[in-house]
Amino acid sequence: MKILVCIKQVADLESRFVVPAGATWFDEADLSFRINEYDEYAIEEAVRLKESLPESELVVLTLGPPRAAEALKKALAMGADRAIHLNDPKAQDRDSFSVAQAIAGAVKDQGFDLIFTGMQSQDRGSGQVGLLLSELLGINGVSCVVGFAKTEGGIQVERELDGGLRAEVALGLPALVTCQLGLNQPRYPTLPNIMKAKKKPLETIELGPQTAPRVKAQGLSLPPKRGAAEFIEGDNATKVAKLVAILKEKKLVG
């Protein structure tokens, strides 16, 4: 079986983001980057499947700027066999369709039976790339997967629906699944595997610039700061007294 997992490197969400005036993306200087959290579940599920199927091959792919190679190396250390880097220094300017299109172009002739992606990226959160990719490849696609099993002729997955409902879905192959948080427990790579990953093939394909974007970002800004809330505790008499004191202090009552 040939398995593909598509991942993205995103800025650590705990970073302090700075958006330069007029820019449509944040300043990447001094940020640290890591694998999109959803994708870690995708990698883990793909690695488990690969380990359960001798003779299978697991390829990891990313579309991203040069720094994204670091994410590929981690996926190799977690257990992927080889990596493909669709290199685009301006990857952040691409819309979801163009990302899916570029990936489809690179993998359509490689005959993958199963493709794993994260449900969405933590930075853009569009949730589109996975399903667009399945459409462009003309294969089955299912999103928001919280349970996965390989069956005789295909796969059986559990999807998370609104209100905590779960749907069981059976699919034939080839198929693409987008993975939700909590699908499994992603491993941390062991030291021997980190060192072995150095010798695994990592192919870099230079992408040309995106043509005719369908969606164009107009601007990017940080959400306005919300004021701090204060929780007043105590019995009713204390609460009232505190409330009145605050209202007086803020000169909201006379």
Binding site: R16, A29, D30, A69, E70, K73, K74, A77, Y188, P189, T190, L191, P192, N193, I194, M195, K198
Partner: protein, 590 residues
């Protein structure tokens, strides 16, 4: 500037090109991944057990060591032919630093991988390695190192334990004191004297009849690490378990300590990075006089000074580890005397290893004190983490050689090198004295963003040369008994190495750094240089008064004044910037 690798102690007389030093910003993707795996292990597996471990649940400690083994964290210094990874020393430092966030557990961990396992790696025969290494790198067995005795601490070679040959085995007798992992170890490297004369190491299994373990010592800190006596009562040890050569045990004891001292530097840096976290959080939360206390300059300065010293410590340890890796890279790993060659190189850098131990452990001392102080009265309560950091810190200035012993080692090693002709100290000292007679010419390069700092480093070298030169000139052979003077020279050499490492790192990463980072590196370098220069100036002055009098004394004092001049304009802004970055990022800001 020369690009030849800096030999041991050579930093005192030669300037280094910033591009020649290793800095943490140079970490490879593998270093970063290993850092992340270690950190994730610490957070996910060890942190939830810290409380249990501090209450001496040693079962948990063994379990966690085995888990660390599964991840490969115990095998980085072991040759590949015995199942290890044989990675560079920088990697060992990265692991040590992150494990050290766990306090007591890290003491067990480092004793196991360091002093517990390394004697076998460096000095074991193929058969010994075959027999034991596999068990140690998986964590199936825990290792301990038994050098200290009730009557033999700093004077480590004066052991009373003995071995006598009886047929095909030795019979060992004696009591070992303060043995880390004593209560949980399966495997001991034990130093004894054969026939009361030949200082020699043996590999002893816990199950050998006659090995008994004393009760757990009740300690001030690192309470979750096992510390016991190990008592040998007519223990029969097969001849094959003699480690290294008869009478050459001192080589094992001292060389393993060289690595251990550098690694202790990495460990305390990790402990510092962890200890500062609750202080930052607390300073932002705690309000007095209508403001979070983080708002006050007195508190900000604590963060600024602590982070600057931590920056210097970190720069120092990775510079040294990188330096050793560059040396080792030139060796043939397949060569039968590979480890003998490594040993010789390590010995060459023993002054730097001692410096790492002293500078970094005293950095942590001041840092945990400030962490506690920032918490006010709450810092004094066991309920808050500051109290544990404060107690756990203390041991670092005692083991792996007390800081007194390590300080004395610094000038001791340097003078020995000079005597052997490996370091042209005398020639350079003479030149430094001659320079004193001429008007000062030194002025920083205005085009270099670190011109004043680099000049300060070069000036500090002159101070060392003047002081060491004066001491040797005046006291000659008697110098080795004048500890007060040796300690002054040590302090100059220590602060100098730290500040030089801090400046070289900033200068190396500066050209590629963002504008925000450029300002931060400049601030850190400035704060370190100012404070190190002041400290080493004071030490040098004290030394001068100890050594000389009259005109010569005045000449030396004048030289110290001249060479401690440093224009630190903007120092306050630099400290406020460091504090701001620390508070905003919520951690050590690099």
């Amino acid at each position: 500037m020369e690009t030849k690798l800096l030999a041991g102690a050579e930093y005192l007389i030669r300037s280094s090109d910033p591009d020649s030093v290793f800095v943490p910003e140079d970490f490879t993707d593998e270093h970063k991944q290993i850092r992340d795996t270690t950190y994730d292990f610490v957070v996910a597996e060890v942190f939830p057990q810290l409380e249990a471990i501090d209450h001496q649940d040693f079962g948990k400690v063994k379990e966690l060591l085995a888990k660390a083994g599964e991840l490969g964290l115990l095998m980085t210094d072991t040759p590949e032919e015995y199942g290890g990874l044989d990675l560079d020393k920088v990697t060992s430092m990265v692991i040590a630093e992150n494990i050290a966030r766990t306090g007591s557990f890290s003491v067990s961990f480092t004793a196991h991988t360091g002093i517990g396992t390394l004697p076998l790696v460096y000095y074991g025969t193929a058969a010994q390695k075959e027999k034991y290494l596999g068990k140690l790198i998986t964590g199936e067995w825990v290792a301990a190192y038994c050098l200290t005795e009730p009557g033999s601490g700093s004077d480590a070679l004066d052991v009373a334990s003995t071995a006598t040959l009886e047929g095909d085995h030795y019979v060992l007798n004696g009591t070992k004191q303060f043995i880390t992992n004593g209560g949980i170890a399966d495997f001991f490297t034990v130093f004894v004297k054969i026939d009361k004369e030949q200082f020699t190491a043996f590999l002893v299994e816990r199950t050998f009849p006659g090995v008994t373990i004393g009760p757990e010592e009740k300690k001030l800190g690192i309470k979750g690490s096992s510390t016991t006596q190990v008592i040998l009562d007519n223990v029969k040890v097969p001849k094959d378990n003699l480690l290294g050569q008869i009478g050459k045990g001192h080589k094992i004891a001292f060389n393993i300590l060289n690595i251990g001292r550098m690694k202790l530097g990495a460990c305390v840096n990790g402990a510092a990075k962890q200890a500062i976290l609750p202080a930052i959080e607390y300073a932002k939360e705690r309000k007095q006089f209508g403001h979070p206390i983080a708002h006050f300059g007195a508190i900000q300065q604590k963060f600024a000074d602590s982070m600057a010293e931590l920056y210097a410590s970190e720069s120092l340890v990775y510079r040294l580890a990188g330096n050793l890796d560059q040396c080792f890279a030139g060796l043939d790993k397949k060569s039968p005397d590979h480890y003998a060659q490594q040993e010789a190189m390590l010995a060459d850098y023993s002054a730097e290893c001692a410096i790492a131990k002293v500078y970094c452990s005293e950095m942590l001392q001041r840092l945990v004190d400030e962490v506690l102080q920032i918490h006010g009265g709450y810092g004094f309560l066991q309920e808050y983490p500051a109290e544990r950091f404060y107690r756990d810190e203390r041991i670092n200035r005692i083991y792996e050689g007390t800081n007194e012993i390590n300080r004395l080692l610094v000038p001791g090693t340097i003078l020995k090198k000079a005597l052997k002709g490996q370091l042209p100290l005398q020639k350079k000292a003479l030149a430094a004295f001659e320079a004193l007679m001429s008007p000062s010419l030194e002025s920083p390069d205005p085009a270099d963003p670190f011109g004043p700092e680099k000049q300060a480093v070069e000036n500090a070298k002159q101070i060392f040369l003047i002081l060491a030169g004066a001491a040797v000139q005046k006291l000659m052979d008697r110098l080795q008994n004048e500890q007060e003077i040796l300690l002054c020279a040590a302090d100059v050499a220590i602060e100098l190495y730290a500040m030089e490492s801090a400046v070289l790192r900033a200068a190396k990463v500066y050209p590629k750094a963002s504008a925000a980072k450029k300002a931060l590196y400049k601030a850190l370098a400035q704060v370190v240089v100012f404070s190190s220069l002041e400290k080493l100036g004071t030490a040098a002055k004290q030394g001068a008064f100890y050594i000389e009098e009259g005109d010569t004394l005045n000449l030396i004092l004048g030289g110290i004044r001249r060479y401690t001049k440093y224009d630190a304009s903007g120092l306050l802004a630099a400290k406020r910037l460091i504090a701001k970055e620390t508070l905003e990022q919520g951690k050590y800001p690099l």
